[in-house]
């Protein structure tokens, strides 16, 4: 009683923005947990809710080194597991974890790009990443049809290449947000056209479907291998971006002010873009080009907690996974047995969200 009272009064003493951030984090965790539970318990192999709950809280599985080994090295799951446990842990659980990583990376990446370009409507794909990744995937499918295992690397490399090209085009003794965005449009437009053209060279429906999955973003067929692929860059990039939030705040004050404060603006901007591209690439490599998450999530978090990046990045780390997990539940289960790419659902959620903002604010606030 005493403790909870102290906790309550402590909560009330907080800065209102911190209070809203705490509420946002708690809400996101709740949504993510519910979505994850629905995701692991539903599907073509039915597992009653009670059984699913038992499986994911079973200490014999959670603290079983063989299970951990299977997750982190790709060895087989132990035979002692029940059939439900195998289905949940080897098929459904990785999709939840990868979805969370994708949401996290895209949201944080979008937040960084919105600061770098000083444009609230920027997304992780604004500097050509989507064009580059899409084109690389299509090229791989057309010329190396069998080599689907290289697709993640092709997508990430294509995105990074396009980003480099954007920087080269935008560079003229230095860059600025407007030139970067325009160069992004140039590269994305050309690559997008090439990519669309390449669709006509795909010779099977399966290849077309794979291509669409990559270009709209999908979590179908995700396993622990994809989790292992995405977790490493995430663990590097996300803490770095959290640490860089003070620099993002200074960048928001405008280029001239940042320079007056002693920030080497070009270096910082390039470094932060590289981090954000890495985050976006690790999401693209496992899930393809999931749209709207990197645009909507930072925007939504900003309306709650303001544009201080220490709060904003933290909020993105939680709301991003919540959005992707909830959207993926719909993508996988709504039209059973047909699964749609999760990018279709995030787009269906993201579009109306902006409509709501338009109706509510009439205009988008400027930084």
């Amino acid at each position: 009683m005493d403790a909870s009272l102290r906790w309550t009064s402590g909560y009330l003493e907080l800065d209102p923005r911190d209070r809203r951030l705490a509420t946002l984090l708690a809400g996101s965790v709740l949504v993510a947990l519910v979505a994850a539970f629905v995701q692991v318990s539903r599907g073509s192999f039915p597992t009653p809710l009670g059984v699913a709950f038992d499986v994911i809280t079973d200490p014999d599985i959670l603290f079983n080194p063989e299970v951990w080994l299977a997750i982190f090295t790709g060895s087989d799951f132990p035979d002692s597991l029940s059939q439900s446990a195998i289905v949940i842990w080897s098929l459904r659980m990785p999709r939840v974890f990868v979805g969370a990583l994708v949401g996290m990376n895209l949201a944080v990446s979008g937040a960084v790009f919105q600061a770098i370009t000083r444009n609230e409507l920027a997304s992780p794909y604004i500097l050509g990443v989507s064009g580059g990744a899409g084109l690389a995937v299509l090229l791989t499918l057309v010329f190396f049809a069998g080599a689907t295992f290289v697709l993640p690397f092709a997508a990430a490399a294509g995105g990074a290449f396009a980003f480099g090209l954007v920087y080269v085009i935008a560079w003229q003794g230095g860059t600025n947000p407007v030139r970067l965005v325009l160069a992004g449009v140039v590269v994305a437009t050309v690559f997008q056209s090439l990519q669309t053209g390449l669709f006509y060279f795909l010779d099977s429906t399966a290849a077309v479907k794979t291509a669409i999955q990559w270009t709209t973003g999908s979590l179908i067929g995700i396993g622990w291998a994809q989790f292992r692929l995405a977790i490493v860059p995430t663990l590097v990039v996300v803490p770095l971006i959290l640490l860089a939030s003070r620099h993002l705040n200074v960048l928001l004050l405008g280029e001239e002010t940042a320079r007056s404060l002693g920030m080497p603006v070009e270096y910082v901007r390039f470094g932060l873009s590289t981090l954000a591209i890495l985050a976006a690439a690790s999401a693209v490599a496992v899930a393809g080009l999931v749209g709207f998450v990197g645009l909507v999530v930072p925007h939504a978090v900003r309306t709650f907690v303001g544009s201080d990046y220490r709060r904003l990045v933290l909020g993105c780390l939680f709301l991003g996974p919540a959005l992707v997990l909830a959207a993926d539940v719909i993508a996988r289960l709504a039209l059973m047995p047909i699964q749609v790419p999760v990018g279709v659902v995030t787009g269906l959620i993201g579009g109306p969200y902006f409509l709501y903002l338009m109706r509510r604010h009439g205009e988008f606030s400027e930084f």
């Binding site: 705040n249 928001l252 004050l253 405008g254 001239e256 007056s260 544009s307 201080d308 606030s365 930084f367």
Partner: protein, 300 residues
Amino acid sequence: MSHPDSTTATGTDPRSETGDTASDADDASERDEQSSAAPDANLHATDLRVGYPGMDEPVVDTDTLVVPEGEVSALVGPNGSGKSTLLKTLARHLDAEAGDVLLKGKEIATYDAKEFARELGMLSQHASTPDGVTVEELVHHGRYPHKGFLEGKTPEDEAAVDRAIELAGVEELRTNQVGSLSGGQRQLVRIAMALAQETDTLLLDEPTTYLDLRHQLRVMDVIRTINEERGVTVCIVLHDLTQAARFADYLVALRDGEVYDWGRPNDVVTEELLADVFRVDAAVSYTPTPEIVPKRALDR
């Protein structure tokens, strides 16, 4: 902090260009003081040429420019005379095509970015202030050059921010959102941010433009105070010649990117200057600061 002796770098005293016309007794005695201890140059530029890409003619082309240590200097001139460009060059926002700029005797290009920002602050004309940030948080950004990459707030930062907020007279706004402030209040807060940098030199680009009279006076008051109490060297671009003459210790009049005249306001502000530089026919009376009564614009 030791101030390297820069008299050798200064070379000729630019005031000699202005000639010895003043006969005001007050001014003469001040002049004697000055000549016995000639002001060291805080900023000293030689043969400076600055242009923008795609333009043939440089926007700034000056032989010598001196910003004296511990004084308030104002850059004045008509639109397009290169005042802001010159100020931006001194602040390293623009690179000069040719020429040297020394800050305390050291070439500005050789300073490390943060080291430079600990020596020289610059209040730009255009700046954005993000939403959802309080005055105190904004002023804290002024401590950026004093911190390492990962360093958090230190007691020194807190103290510097308190001092800056008090000096700028914005204590009552401390917890307000910056987005909710009026233009004049916002300018005072931006000045507080520059003060939190605790530099020995402060450059300001038209800090009073678009402000109402009361806030113009408050801004000027704050700048005077930091100059007198902290000995901060100030170089300020001002639009209004009368205001500049009343406010500054030295005026630098620019015409087409060149220094037309340099010196004490009473020596610089003359009917001839108004005709030559501002292309205005005006009467100037000294009461004792120059009062300007403009009559008509002169034809080109």
